[in-house]
Symmetry: C2
Subunit: 392 residues, 2 copies
């Protein structure tokens, strides 16, 4: 096991109706004037924004609204948000929404107290500080409510870059599973897929002897296979929503990712898909991740995928041909994704195989290799997109 | 799933040699004068205390030493420590050791800034504040390095009471698995048993539909079954030590215990054993927990134990007689405990069956019932001790 630091100081407030205490928690964590960031009209229509604004009013906390965050959130909105945060002299950011809203808040939090361009932090620079962030989570998927990470897309180039810093971990996150009940089935399934992918990106590691986190990761994926089906059968199953919501957090606050090399190649391969075709990140992952697995099985001894197949998907071990067991695991994964309504092919997400050279170019790896369980060069990127496009 | 709050703000520093930075972390978290609390002579002899003192010196941090903490730590030492902490005007407590040392530090931390008797906090009162605590962990078992809990034994009555408060969560914990390599095999196995018991006390719940934490708990126990055997085969297996150490933390910081009723009856039944016979807590648990399981199987439909048996211990489901599957799970658990050298009976820990009425009396439940997966009245306490004593 590798050495590591782990720090997850977010205060989690989990359960029905708990967003009614948003004001109380903003106050507890030192906020007196809030930029409330949210996404589309549904948060307003449902009365959620109104309820939260009232709870802020009740604590004497001033509120400035910033709506309109879209999936795959853009840098332009961040620049606007930074300006608003400064002009309005807010001292706290409250993100009400899913990963896109929270990531936008994180970018604004860093940018508002920085003299340069916030994009610096999405180009490798570490921030020294950030405004404190609280969240009211309405979509279980990204894990951003408990993570040190954010992803923003640059408007001009569609570059999708990530930032990571402990200072952007939310100081509190309110998680009411009932708020996710109004999410359409497709978006719910995309969230489940994203959560599983966050487990798998950690699971496929070159670090040996990491049994404790291996087993925990397997456990969460097993739970998602069960709860994912349950929530599709009944969108108002509160407990299924609750299990998925907590899994979303633990899969990305890194408590199961410490001490082990991680992969993230499926995420990199996916990011250009959702940027170019404007699809949900989870849908892109459903197309890419099994394709990536198939590629890796053929370019390794396949052991890790055999472990996945037998421990998670209950496949019988074929001792004469272990790779057939590994492939059966990928098939079982695809069957699950299909069952919850996810796309599996380029065609199903409206992606054109002719775009593959462009997609590879956008990944911007030159003559290098993107590290992970299997290092991927340009040709490997081609191959994986071609598998996903059904060309291989 | 139940509503909950979860807050685990400890900064974890994990890996080889990392105790050399103890001074740096004390400084980072605001300490300028430290009460360094430790246990027996081995910490001194091994040079560990010296290394840590030097790292404190290097940061200009004054150090006052308080050694002599014993297993099942006593209130007398806490009173002495509180006096020393006040007299020496320390502003930070550094616990170097295992659960006993850390729990002593937690009790001192609350008592040093409180006008009344620190025992109030072990009798139900909530503390308002505590001195900050850092730890350098040398035994993987209690999870106290990341938990909000402490247990202290009152000298006069041998009462073993618990306190719980977020303000006694360590601000940092340094976890170097190599420091546990010098631990004797028996103590190592006691630690593994304690860790598994912390998972099981959470696992056996009356709360339905808690699949995510169920599966994570099963995962950690599965890992301990594997790593527990590995570490007994080779005490210098760093990775086995590392897996066990991280498992010890995650099993007790409560990330897998949230949203579900917990049990803790095995701990209550055990505490009087270790108090009366002065045995290791883990050894007492190895005797009590399987006996408690057998009792519960006969007094419920056994479903949870069938789940344990099939998912954790790989038992085949007997659909005609599910309870036989449940019992096979307990047998497999005992086989594991035996394999790592744990005692399983009253005789093996020097406990006299004639003491059972006294043990039950010490549990002090009167005509009540101790809550949990199965509520236990006085007779149930008798029965479980008798199972453990081989009388049933």
């Amino acid at each position: 096991m590798n050495s590591f630091d782990f720090y997850s100081p977010t205060y989690f407030v989990f359960g029905k109706d708990r967003e009614q205490d948003a004001g109380k928690y903003v106050k507890k964590f030192g906020g007196s004037r809030v930029l409330l960031i949210y996404g589309g009209k549904s948060a307003v229509k449902s009365g959620l924004i109104d309820r939260i604004t009232k709870s802020l009013d009740a604590e004497g906390i001033g509120t400035v609204l910033l709506g309109g965050v879209m999936p795959n959130p853009k840098s332009s909105l961040v620049y606007g948000g930074i300006e608003t945060a400064r002009r309005e002299k807010v001292d706290f950011l409250l993100a009400v929404g899913g990963g896109s809203v929270i990531d936008t808040a994180k970018a604004i939090a860093m940018g508002a107290v920085y003299d340069g361009d916030f994009w610096d932090f999405f180009s490798g620079k570490s921030p020294e500080k950030a405004l404190p962030i609280g969240t009211v989570l309405t979509i279980a998927a990204s894990g951003s409510e408990g993570s040190a990470n954010a992803i923003i897309t640059k408007d001009e180039t569609l570059e999708k870059n990530a930032a990571e810093a402990d200072c952007i971990r939310p100081v509190f996150s309110i998680m009411n599973p009932a708020l996710t009940e109004s999410l359409p089935p497709y978006q719910t399934a995309c969230g489940v897929t994203d959560i599983i992918s966050h487990a798998f990106e950690r699971y496929f590691t070159v670090t040996p002897n990491v049994e404790t986190t291996d087993r925990m990761l397997e456990g969460v994926v097993l739970a998602m296979l069960h709860e994912g089906v349950r929530v599709m059968e009944n969108p108002h199953d509160y407990d299924a929503r609750a299990n998925i919501m907590w899994a979303g957090m633990v899969c990305h606050n890194d408590i199961m990712g410490v001490g082990r090399a991680q992969d993230w190649n499926s995420h990199h391969l996916e990011h250009v898909l959702s940027a170019v075709y404007d699809i949900a990140h989870g849908a892109g992952l459903a197309v890419i991740m099994p394709a990536w697995m198939e590629y890796c099985i053929e370019h390794t001894d396949g052991t890790r995928f055999v472990q996945m197949a037998t421990r998670i998907f209950g496949c019988q071990m074929d001792f004469d041909d272990p790779k057939s067991t590994a492939r059966a695991g990928v098939e079982a994964f695809r069957n699950f994704l299909r069952k919850i309504g996810m796309p599996l092919t380029f065609a199903e997400i409206g992606a054109d195989p002719k775009d593959i050279p462009r997609l590879v170019e956008m990944n911007n790896i030159g003559d290098g290799v993107t590290g992970g369980y299997v290092g991927l060069d340009k040709q490997a990127h081609f191959d994986i997109y071609e598998i996903a496009a059904g060309l291989k």
